[in-house]
Symmetry: C2
């Protein structure tokens, strides 16, 4: 067991051999504050445009203190991204795949948090470059979200519930594309773009049955062992 740092009364505390920042109450709170401050900065100016000093300034933390919690800029970005997409990722492994309504609900939720949309659009576009620290992250993200949504829509495909021409994967890609594209438009014109409404319309153009029916079918398939 590792000895808990004594926090002795001396001002020169011995540096522990392994750095494990964010273990004490104060550290945990500060870590969260840094992530909160980093989110909008990355979202507004992108990874390259963001500066650690600026992020530190935003949350009243010294530059050096920030680097204690996140040794490198790459790690800070990854921590910000991961904290924000858990809502979606936890559905990736749902039995029967991810409901398309989940994507709509996420879009509805995001409208209240514009910085999150901004972060995700900006980061996913920047990360197209293989050099980008989040490249692998987004490659994996898109692969899994498509695979999961495709699995869900496959049940519809098997029952002939997809409109002519669509495959399960094609439909999944369209729904995801509409979400991304509309969110981008929304960032430019927040009053005129109704992301969730249009997504529901598109889903209605892809499925010939209500999503509730498909949900029911998917649950049944999962119940039968699948």
């Amino acid at each position: 067991m590792d000895a808990p740092e004594p926090e002795t009364s001396s001002d020169e505390v011995a540096r522990p051999p392994v750095r494990t920042p964010g273990r004490y109450r104060k550290g945990i709170a500060k870590r969260e504050a840094i992530l909160d401050a980093a989110l909008p900065v990355f979202g507004q100016v992108g990874f390259h445009g963001a500066s650690l000093r600026e992020i530190a300034r935003q949350c009243g933390v010294s530059h050096q203190s920030l680097m204690h919690y996140f040794p490198t800029k790459d790690e800070l970005l990854m921590a910000v991204l991961r904290r924000r997409d858990e809502r979606l990722r936890r559905h990736f492994d749902d039995a029967g795949g991810m409901r398309v309504d989940e994507l709509v609900e996420l879009a509805e939720y995001n409208v209240d948090v514009p910085v999150v949309i901004s972060l995700f659009i900006t980061a996913s576009a920047e990360a197209v470059s293989t050099e980008h620290p989040a490249h692998e992250y987004y490659r994996d993200y898109y692969e899994r979200i498509i695979r999961s949504t495709t699995a869900y829509l496959s049940v519809a495909a098997d029952r002939g519930w997809l409109r002519p021409g669509y495959t399960a994967e094609g439909a999944a890609r369209v729904v995801l594309a509409v979400q991304d594209g509309l969110q981008l438009q929304w960032l430019y014109e927040r009053d005129s773009v109704k992301v969730a409404d249009l997504m529901r319309l598109v889903i209605g153009s892809v499925l010939s049955v209500p999503t509730a029916d498909l949900d029911e079918a998917v649950r049944e398939e999962a119940r039968r062992g699948r």
Copy 2:
């Protein structure tokens, strides 16, 4: 009237009033070479991530020579963007608005020029920030492409050729969103994403008639003075 600055015959020679780079043969060619080199760099690392020295290196031009042609980084980016979207912009003012097939054809064309897609996706996402040099550019771009496509689809709306639920603007936004979103997916997985095919499917889900029929109707409306 303010006295025209004498600029007497002192040894302080008058600075030529305007600098106009790119007037000689050699200069024109070099200007083009710089733009060609800047396109992929901006597309891969974004505006903030790109360095003028790197762009200059890519096309065998000195850093200072580059700055002779493009006095600031902002101007270079704008020149790159403008040169690449003329294909689309020249349809903005088409009588009757822009055909949706034009968007599909552009997507088909873009597949051969991945750097252009990368540039546009990255720049449009980065430029969401009002500080970004291309912010006004993209704001105007989206407004005009939506307005133009909406005008085209209004003819369909008037004749009841839109699927239930869609307005002309809603349909226009969906088609554009699908284009943007699929192109982003395509950048991550170039073999699996058929951008143009899926776009045509979506257009078929939005319109209840073939686009050829709508084209004909739009031409007729334009002929009748509109």
